[in-house]
Symmetry: C2
């Protein structure tokens, strides 16, 4: 009686099909062009069919945002190759920005857009998990004793805000006040100040 399982496979496959198509349109033509009908057209189903697999359009974006976090976690793991906690943390910051630049649509969904969050009922577990990974990195720095004073969560929040600030200003076109050719350099230079958040002694 493997028929039940086959159906579940098919259901999962259909969901993935929808998500892949939605993402493809998002990447190729932008958020505004991601319509239920456009997705339905591409997968050669009726628009109404999508509602058998997702509650509504926001739910599709929520699922995409989850997929984004799965990829993001891999970026976070890249720092694990480094032994020195401080260097590891710095690489986490760099890779955060790398993720944003290399996956701008996912980043938008995960950290900027309103749509996916409307589907977050209780806890934003995706975000929480990713943040805890950062906290862990900061914790390691604290325990290794090389640097840093202050509350671990506060420092983590500061680091997140800093790199997210750079990423979101860039992705949402607010860094056009910097000439195109200098922009990347400027961001890299600013990122150097990540150290500052770690070496700083608050409340002086």
């Amino acid at each position: 009686m493997g028929i039940q399982e086959r159906k579940e496979r098919e259901k999962a496959h259909m969901r993935q099909m929808i998500l892949e198509t939605a993402l493809a349109i998002f990447q190729a033509e932008g958020f505004d062009k991601v319509s239920v009908r456009a997705i339905a057209d591409r997968i050669e189903y009726s628009p109404a069919t999508l509602y058998l697999y997702f509650k509504n359009k926001d739910d599709i974006f929520y699922a995409l945002h989850e997929e984004g976090f799965r990829r993001f976690i891999e970026y976070q793991r890249r720092a694990d190759v480094l032994d020195d906690p401080a260097q590891r943390l710095k690489k986490m910051g760099q890779d955060y920005l790398n993720f944003a630049v290399e996956n701008p649509e996912y980043y938008d969904l995960m950290f900027i857009m309103a749509a996916p969050m409307r589907e977050v009922s209780q806890e934003w577990s995706c975000g929480k998990e990713a943040f805890e990974n950062l906290v862990k990195g900061v914790q390691d720095c604290l325990e290794s004793g090389q640097i840093l004073s202050g509350n671990v969560h506060t420092v983590s929040l500061g680091i997140w805000a800093f790199v997210h600030g750079l990423a979101s200003l860039l992705l949402r076109g607010r860094l056009q006040i910097i000439p195109e050719e200098q922009r990347e350099k400027a961001i890299e230079a600013a990122l150097e100040y990540l150290d500052a958040l770690l070496t700083h002694r608050p409340g002086r």
Copy 2:
């Protein structure tokens, strides 16, 4: 022949009427509810009339975003009462966040939403002006010699990214990983690390 001037007054008045209404809906019911028809209904004109005063809907948001910057500049000026450059800069950061919290819709338009930027043809003069005010604040700190090394524009970008990161994470619901009652405190605590960006010596 004051008739021409009266017409211009009326035209300006109509524009303002539209903008005020758009903002009112935005503040009361959110971005999604700001429709051309909803605005037209409230001011008791036909939807088509709006297109005699604005090129399109994005153009309305662009005008709103400009108004936001006018109010923002006033927040920036609040720091002028302080004489010490470092304290002045810190207050600028605090007031930046105050603006975001007290005018979340304006902030969204100015620094997060995509819509207004689609109407920016060449130069984003609003943003440039506001940023230059920040640069000036950083410059003063450098010249007073109390603190800081490194490139003025780089530090300014870092400061902006930092405070914008906090503001945008908050406004877009990404800080719900922090319990409601601790959230404000956490942001305040993180903001203390603004100092870090100033006292830091890069490239060590």
